[in-house]
């Protein structure tokens, strides 16, 4: 069974959480921001867990124009 990556709107309160993302980075150097992004990606990957979904996410991030 392969689960599908969700590419339609799925976030609660999108404006709020997007602002939250920017706020989290505020005042950080480029290096600190890069490190934060990396930690965030790993945390989210673990939360999603399923290999198939993550593989689709990697593809979607690499070539947003496809699919």
């Amino acid at each position: 069974m392969t689960a599908d990556l969700i590419l339609t709107p799925n976030m609660d309160r999108p404006d709020d959480i997007y602002a939250g993302l920017l706020a989290t980075h505020e005042g950080l150097t480029k290096d600190a921001s890069d490190a934060l992004n990396a930690r965030l990606i790993l945390i989210l990957m673990n939360h999603i867990g399923q290999h198939d979904v993550l593989a689709q996410a990697l593809q979607a991030a690499k070539s947003p124009e496809k699919g």
Partner: protein
């Protein structure tokens, strides 16, 4: 200080072959008396195959080199008759600590699965394994096995004549020739045999150098594996501390690519580095220092007609995960019984192609694992370092990140999925870990162990079901090992071999890998499985 690597164990002696009018003939010639060549020779000789081992040297390998031996290797050693001395001498460990920058980020306990005769790992200098193998060779020779170790015998020429191989050998007293039915080339990563035959060895060089030092000290560091990423005493690099027997400690320090190897190896440069790591007040002496560049590569094919490559000559991996020597011993475990059947005329020569298929598959698995470890330890780009450091930072606080920390995935035996010797799985409710192709996991049976009852020959393992005590198919005799719930005092047998099935019949190869499994004994199906596992149908 351990001087075993200075003692000639099989010094050059003139042999009658050197005075023969025409080249003397041998069944099998093994080139190289490293751990892999010695294991191949002991395995074959113990099974009644005449074998001669040629090595240009006459001692165990210099320095400890491989130090971490996995359970599967110890099980193979049991079959070869030297498991007990290895385990008695080796250091057991199960706690590991991971440090990042100035702090410890976490520790782990390997908590090995219960119900195995042998521990998950032991640490032991490679020279002990070689010494015990030489001893074992002498012991079986005294018992009548035809095994000869010839030191000071350097193979200088090799010609495959199609139906036999001719070797020319340099000795302190000049050159002589022998012929052999088959040659096993265990002559190490720089394999002169490979070069003489003009064969490839392709792969990836990691642009990095590691200082490997064996240090003797009376320190109260615990028996644990300590791994540092980016420590203050080796900024931007990594370090490892691991204990061996006799108060010897293995220290690995990553040095980077642009270094002067000869300079770095000098004690006056090594000592300050070690003091920075161990502390100024720790007294130590250096036993062995080496600088190592890692490569991950393999030959395209391990079998070239009558010349068969095993160990480092066939494949090389980075040492993270201890896959060098461990995988070499799995090569000979795989090869010896096949060669024996072919030499005895009980299996077609094509059975040897399955050595190639199975061990190339194993080498690729090892190369994949050790490349990934190396990429984690030595990030190859800025972004991979960012992710690596993020994993380490998270691992301090969150368990989820710890499985991503990769300082070496310790060597596990390979499951030969897709091997031409496997019969499709006919035990649908059986556990995945014992599907055809799997190495048999051990299981405690009261005061004995399952694996002690397997090996060297084909076995029919029956659990809770009936079968003949022995059967012969195509000249190959298979003996039954009958077990039932009564033997399964710990439940390990059921968990590992039955799963949800009430009963099972396993056909097990001489190297303790599963060839086929069924719900019950079916004469036709078992006979077909024996033919398949011995390559009888490949030729047809």
């Amino acid at each position: 200080m351990n001087k075993i690597f200075e003692v000639p164990l099989y010094p050059y002696r003139r042999h009658a072959d050197q005075d023969a009018l025409s080249p003397a003939h041998h069944k099998v010639a093994v080139i190289g008396a490293g751990p892999v060549g010695l294991a191949a020779a002991v395995d074959l000789a113990q099974q009644g195959v005449e074998v001669v081992v040629l090595d240009e040297n006459d001692k165990v390998s210099f320095g400890s080199r491989a130090i971490c031996f996995a359970k599967r290797t110890l099980e193979i050693a049991d079959r070869l008759g030297l498991g007990a001395p290895l385990v008695d001498k080796g250091v057991r460990w199960s706690i590991g600590k991971v440090f990042f920058d100035e702090r410890k980020v976490y520790d782990f306990n390997l908590l090995p699965e219960e119900g195995h005769k042998r521990p998950a790992f032991i640490n032991l200098q490679q020279y002990y394994i070689e010494e015990y193998l030489v001893k074992r060779a002498r012991e079986i020779e005294a018992g009548g096995a035809q095994i000869a170790l010839r030191g000071g015998n350097k193979v200088a020429g090799i010609t495959d004549h199609g139906d036999h191989v001719a070797l020319s050998i340099d000795t302190p007293e000049g050159q002589y020739e022998i012929t052999a039915d088959y040659v096993i080339a265990c002559d190490g990563a720089a394999s002169p045999v490979r070069s003489m035959l003009g064969l490839d060895f392709v792969g990836r060089v990691f642009e990095d150098n590691f200082l490997i030092a064996d240090v003797i000290m009376e320190a109260d560091f615990p028996t644990e594996r300590w791994f540092w990423f980016d420590p203050p005493f080796n900024k931007g690099q990594s370090a490892l501390l691991h204990k061996q027997p006799d108060g010897v400690w293995r220290i690995d320090l990553q040095l980077g690519w642009d270094i002067d190897k000869e300079q770095e190896k000098k004690p006056e440069n090594v000592t300050p580095r070690l003091k920075a790591m161990l502390g100024d007040d720790v007294e130590f002496s250096l036993e062995w220092v080496s600088i190592y560049t890692f490569q991950c590569r393999r030959m395209e094919k391990f079998r070239h007609n009558r010349v068969i490559f095993a160990g480092d000559s066939a494949h090389q991996v980075s040492p993270f995960g201890a896959r060098g020597a461990n995988s070499g011993l799995q090569d000979t475990d795989n090869l010896a019984w096949k060669l024996k059947l072919v030499l005895d005329g009980l299996a077609p020569d094509a059975l040897l192609d399955s050595y190639d298929a199975e061990r190339v598959f194993g080498a690729d698995e090892n190369i994949l694992n050790s490349s990934r470890s190396t990429d984690f330890i030595t990030p190859k780009s800025e972004i991979s370092r960012v992710f690596r450091d993020a994993v380490l930072d998270l691992s301090e606080h969150h368990a989820f990140a710890r499985p991503l920390v990769n300082s070496g995935r310790l060597s596990m035996p390979c499951t030969y999925d897709g091997s031409p010797l496997n019969t499709p799985d006919a035990l649908p409710l059986g556990p995945a870990r014992t599907r055809p192709g799997s190495p048999c996991p051990d299981a405690a049976l009261g005061n004995r162990f399952l694996l002690d009852g397997l090996g060297d020959r084909f076995t029919l393992l029956t659990i809770n079901t009936d079968a003949p005590d022995s059967l012969t198919e195509s000249g190959i005799t298979v003996t039954r090992l009958a077990l039932s719930d009564q033997d399964d005092v710990t439940g390990a047998l059921t968990a590992r071999y039955l799963g949800d099935a009430p009963a099972a019949v396993y056909l097990i190869r001489p190297d303790q890998h599963v060839a086929a499994r069924f719900r019950a004994y079916d004469d036709t199906a078992i006979r077909a499985a024996i033919r398949c596992a011995t390559g009888q149908d490949i030729q047809a």
